[in-house]
C-alpha cells in the first residue's frame, strides 16, 4: 500500500498532473510570504548597531545561503533514491536541483560581497563561509557540467547521482576544515561571525524570508522538473495528449 503510493510518486505522469493543480497556490503563497518578510525586514526592523542599515542585506543573503546548502542535499538525496529504486523521476528532480542550487549560491556570494563592501571595505574577504560557498559553487558546477557533457542521458543521471553522493559525504568535512583553517588565520579586521546572535525583532522577518525562500525553491524545482518530464517523456502518449490539449 505504502509502496504503491511510493511508486506512484515515482511516476512522472502522476507528479506532473498533481503539480499542475498545486502550482497556482504555491506561487501565490510564495510571493505573499516573501513580500511580507522582506518589507518587514527592510522597513520595520531596527537598525543594527554595528553595521547600520547594510545589515538588512541579511534578509536576502542568509536565506539564500541556507537554501544553497540545503539544495545540495536535496540533489544528493534525489540522486540516491534514483539509484536505489531505479526510478526516473528522482533523476529529473536531481538534474533540476543543480542549476537552482548554483543560482542561489551565486546569489549568496553576490549579496555577501556587496555586504562585505560597507562592512569589511572589500568585496572579497577570505572568510570561512565565503570560501565554503565558493567551494559549494564548484561542487554544483561539477554536477552541472558532468550532466551536460555526458554522452548518454541515463549515464549522465547515474554518474551525477554518484558524484552528488560522494560530495554530500564530503560537504561537512569541507565546511569543518575551512572553519578550522579560518580559526587559525582569522584576520583581526572581521568580527561578523558573532552576528549569529540575532536580535529577536530581526529574527521573525528573517524567519519569514527563509520560509519564502524554501517555497521559492520548491516552486522552481517543480517547474524545472515539469519541463524535464516533458522532455524525457516526449514519446509517451499522455505527454502528447497533454501537449495537444494545452
Amino acid at each position: 500500500m505504502a509502496w504503491q503510493w511510493f511508486h506512484r510518486l515515482g511516476s512522472p505522469r502522476w507528479f506532473y498532473e498533481k503539480t499542475s493543480r498545486w502550482l497556482p497556490w504555491l506561487i501565490a503563497g510564495t510571493l505573499s510570504v516573501w513580500v511580507i518578510g522582506l518589507i518587514w525586514g527592510l522597513a520595520f526592523t531596527p537598525m543594527d548597531a554595528k553595521q547600520g542599515n547594510s545589515y538588512r542585506i541579511i534578509y536576502i543573503h542568509m536565506p539564500a545561503a541556507v537554501l544553497a546548502l540545503a539544495g545540495y542535499y536535496v540533489m544528493a538525496i534525489a540522486g540516491a533514491v534514483g539509484l536505489i529504486w531505479r526510478m526516473k523521476l528522482p533523476f529529473m528532480v536531481m538534474k533540476s536541483a543543480a542549476p537552482i542550487g548554483a543560482a542561489l549560491t551565486v546569489l549568496t556570494l553576490a549579496t555577501g560581497s556587496i555586504w562585505g563592501y560597507p562592512t569589511w571595505g572589500t568585496f572579497w574577504e577570505w572568510d570561512a563561509r565565503n570560501i565554503f560557498m565558493l567551494i559549494l559553487l564548484f561542487l554544483y558546477l561539477g554536477v552541472i557540467l558532468l550532466q551536460s557533457v555526458y554522452p548518454s542521458r541515463d549515464g549522465a543521471d547515474k554518474a551525477c547521482a554518484v558524484l552528488a553522493l560522494v560530495g554530500t559525504v564530503n560537504v561537512p568535512i569541507i565546511y569543518k576544515s575551512v572553519d578550522w583553517w579560518y580559526s587559525l588565520h582569522q584576520p583581526a579586521t572581521i568580527k561578523f561571525t558573532e552576528s549569529s546572535s540575532i536580535h529577536s525583532s530581526m529574527f521573525y522577518p528573517l524567519l519569514l524570508c527563509v520560509v519564502a525562500y524554501y517555497c521559492f525553491y520548491t516552486l522552481a524545482l517543480i517547474l524545472y522538473t515539469r519541463h524535464e518530464i516533458l522532455l524525457r517523456e516526449a514519446r509517451t502518449s499522455w505527454v502528447q495528449d497533454h501537449a495537444l490539449r494545452s
Binding site: R8, W14, S152, T236
Partner: protein, 216 residues
C-alpha cells in the same frame, strides 16, 4: 529436445531514445553456433553486450543455466567476450598482452601462451611491442585467447575484422571444435562463415514495436 543453456526472454533494446529490437525471444543449447544477422546499425553489438551483461536491456532478461545473469556473479567465469575493440596495449609486447588478458580471466589453460601465439602465427613477433603490429596482427593477439579459454560461452563481435583468409579458415575450425566440445558460440560477422549446421538469429525478425515504455 534438450534443456536450453542460454535463454533470451522478451529482450528490448533502446539506444538514445530509439528502439532497436523488441520481444526478442531465443534459446540456445550447448553445442550451438549462432550467427547474429543484421544490417549496419541493426543492434548486433548492442545485443552481444546485453548478453555479456555489460548493458542492461530496456526490458526482458537473459538466463544462463536457468538463472538471470544479473544474479550470477560466476557467470563471467564461463564467458569469453571479444568485442569490437582490441584491448591490447601498444607499449607491451605481444606475449605480455596475451599473458595479461589470460591472468585477468584467471584461467589455467591447457597450453602455454607461446603455444597459443604460435597457433595464430605470431610466434615470430612474440616480443615486439604491439604498437608496431599491423591491424590484423593486433587482432590476432586477441584471438589467441580462443586457444586458451575453457569458457563454454563464447561471444565474438566481428572477430574476422582485418584477418586474412588463411586466418579466417583457422578461426572457423577453432570455433567449430569448441562447439563440438559442447561449447556455445554467438558470433556476428558480415562475411558468410564456412561452417555447416549454423543457426542464424536475424534481428529483423524482432522489429521494434513502438509501444511506449513508461515504467509505472
Amino acid at each position: 529436445m534438450s534443456e536450453p543453456i542460454l535463454t533470451l526472454q522478451e529482450l528490448t533494446c533502446e539506444r538514445d531514445e530509439r528502439l532497436l529490437f523488441s520481444h526478442l525471444n531465443y534459446r540456445c543449447q550447448a553445442g550451438d553456433l549462432v550467427q547474429i544477422l543484421g544490417a549496419n546499425g541493426a543492434g548486433k553489438t548492442s545485443l552481444l553486450r546485453i548478453l555479456a551483461g555489460l548493458i542492461t536491456p530496456l526490458e526482458g532478461r537473459v538466463l544462463w543455466r536457468g538463472k538471470t545473469i544479473a544474479h550470477q556473479p560466476d557467470f563471467v567465469r564461463e564467458l569469453l567476450f571479444l568485442g569490437h575493440q582490441v584491448p591490447v596495449k601498444g607499449l607491451l609486447t605481444v606475449l605480455e598482452n596475451l599473458r595479461w588478458l589470460n591472468r585477468l580471466q584467471t584461467r589455467n589453460p591447457s597450453i602455454s601462451e607461446r603455444e597459443a601465439l604460435q597457433r595464430v602465427g605470431l610466434e615470430a613477433c612474440a616480443d615486439t611491442p604491439c604498437q608496431q603490429l599491423s591491424a590484423g596482427q593486433r587482432r590476432r593477439v586477441l584471438l589467441a585467447q580462443l586457444y586458451l579459454s575453457q569458457a563454454p560461452l563464447w561471444i565474438l563481435d566481428e572477430p574476422f575484422t582485418a584477418i586474412d583468409q588463411a586466418g579466417v579458415g583457422q578461426l572457423e575450425t577453432v570455433i567449430d571444435q569448441h562447439r563440438h566440445n559442447g561449447g556455445l558460440v554467438l558470433i556476428t560477422s558480415h562475411q558468410t562463415l564456412k561452417i555447416n549446421a549454423m543457426r542464424h538469429l536475424d534481428l529483423t525478425d524482432f522489429p521494434p514495436d513502438n509501444r511506449v515504455y513508461d515504467h509505472e
